[in-house]
Symmetry: C2
Subunit: 267 residues, 2 copies
Amino acid sequence: MLTVGEFSRICQVSIKTLHYYDRIGLLVPIKVDPSSGYRYYGQQQVERMLLIGRLKRYGFSLEDIRVLLDCKEEGVLRGRLCQQREKLKFKQREMELVISELSAHLQNFERTGDIMGYQKEYDIDVTNTPDMVVIASRQMMGVKEFGNYYSGLYERMAREHLTPDGLRGAVYYDQEFNHECSDIELIVGVRETEKADKTMKGRLCAKTIHKGPYSSLSDAYGALVAWIENHGYAWDGAPYELYVKTQFDSLAPEDWETEVYFPVRKK
Amino acid sequence: MLTVGEFSRICQVSIKTLHYYDRIGLLVPIKVDPSSGYRYYGQQQVERMLLIGRLKRYGFSLEDIRVLLDCKEEGVLRGRLCQQREKLKFKQREMELVISELSAHLQNFERTGDIMGYQKEYDIDVTNTPDMVVIASRQMMGVKEFGNYYSGLYERMAREHLTPDGLRGAVYYDQEFNHECSDIELIVGVRETEKADKTMKGRLCAKTIHKGPYSSLSDAYGALVAWIENHGYAWDGAPYELYVKTQFDSLAPEDWETEVYFPVRKK
DNA sequence: CATTGACTCTCCCCTTAGGTCATGCTGTAT
DNA sequence: ATACAGCATGACCTAAGGGGAGAGTCAATG
């Protein structure tokens, strides 16, 4: 039997951490002296503690770890580990992207001496957009669930024998932008007018093209809004994006292209 | 002038976030109606908000960002960006390591069906260690500051014309392990007995070799402690590590080797 | 003018994974 | 018996907001 101090030295974790793990039920001492409250740990708990440390490095939350360790099915365990590996790989790719973004920013900064320089390079103009015949799916959804809902639309297209015309986009109806859950309508352009959900009437829009990953899309929004204000227009309806070049064209995120439209009227 | 709602839609951040940024002084509306408390933002603040979002992606804390944006010197700004890029690259390398560790773990798990299998592969035995003639530097230090203190020792070796014998290690005196700040003594073996700080007398130790990055070193500690208990020995003194193969031998972290020693006596 | 509905305000509590005192009790060695 | 190391609990703190309650405000409509 080991006291907290001994146990903490062996496992290389702080006593506070052990107190905490006891409190949340992740690692409960085998014995607690009822009169003094002293905690005593057993040999075999060293193993558990080390495993906890490992899983923590793998990026699991303590809650996840508790569930994992209490779960006896080997398959589930293996599944969760695999899944976590994929998550880490994904995060790594994301980080790669951020680094390249930062590098580009730095270059731009050194060239122009303006820390916001990159943002002024949007070409913006006002056009009358053509009508778009689309099927649509409007829902409260998070930005990350786009994939799920899009696949729903494509499934439906297959079922109803619709022909895509290459148009893909999203309309943002929401008043306030919320990363996790917003009122968003995904649209896919189709040929069959009669079977489509609706025709989005052409209208006057301020438009620009955003090149690069979606993480910096809001730069385009900012540029557009500034332009609209400065050129005597007023914002008039839900903005939308069309995804012109994306990962589905097997392009790297730096080469993606997104058109951003803001419906406007002359002030 | 824009209301919070409008501003939040344009910049794609939540109203809550804007409230928060106002509160911490990171982005203060150009006007606040004194009677109603309503916030009004200006055009030019869109730019600032977007830049904040960017810097946040780059991994800066909001406090950092506030300082950065208020700092007018271009050089400082560029320096911080460069520095942050290096930090991100470092984190990326670390993540790479974790992924490879997880992959190895998974393989081991699938082979043995034992989630702790990897941990049982330490070869442990008891040896009488030889005397070690060392110069030493004992301090409260964090694990990450090893580099600083080691370089101090090497500097001193150069100054006093000491000859290293290839031994490098650290003794852990502390009762409780604390990542940030522990009582650790760094030691470097030298040839000149008379000029050395001390001779660490050889004595009975349980020993094992840990292969791989330092993040999983505590596995070795755990294995040793379990072994000591199970084989009728008692722990008797401050444990220490010797770094046998490290990054200074230009090896990848997977190939590093560390010897871990626990002084023991027969029970 | 009054009402409605959308918008906004502040205030308070909650999250993760513990860290940092402060104060008081316990165990053991001398 | 006493000193001192070790241990306990509890309160408060972190970063970056999210969620909700309850109340006030703005603009358009009847």
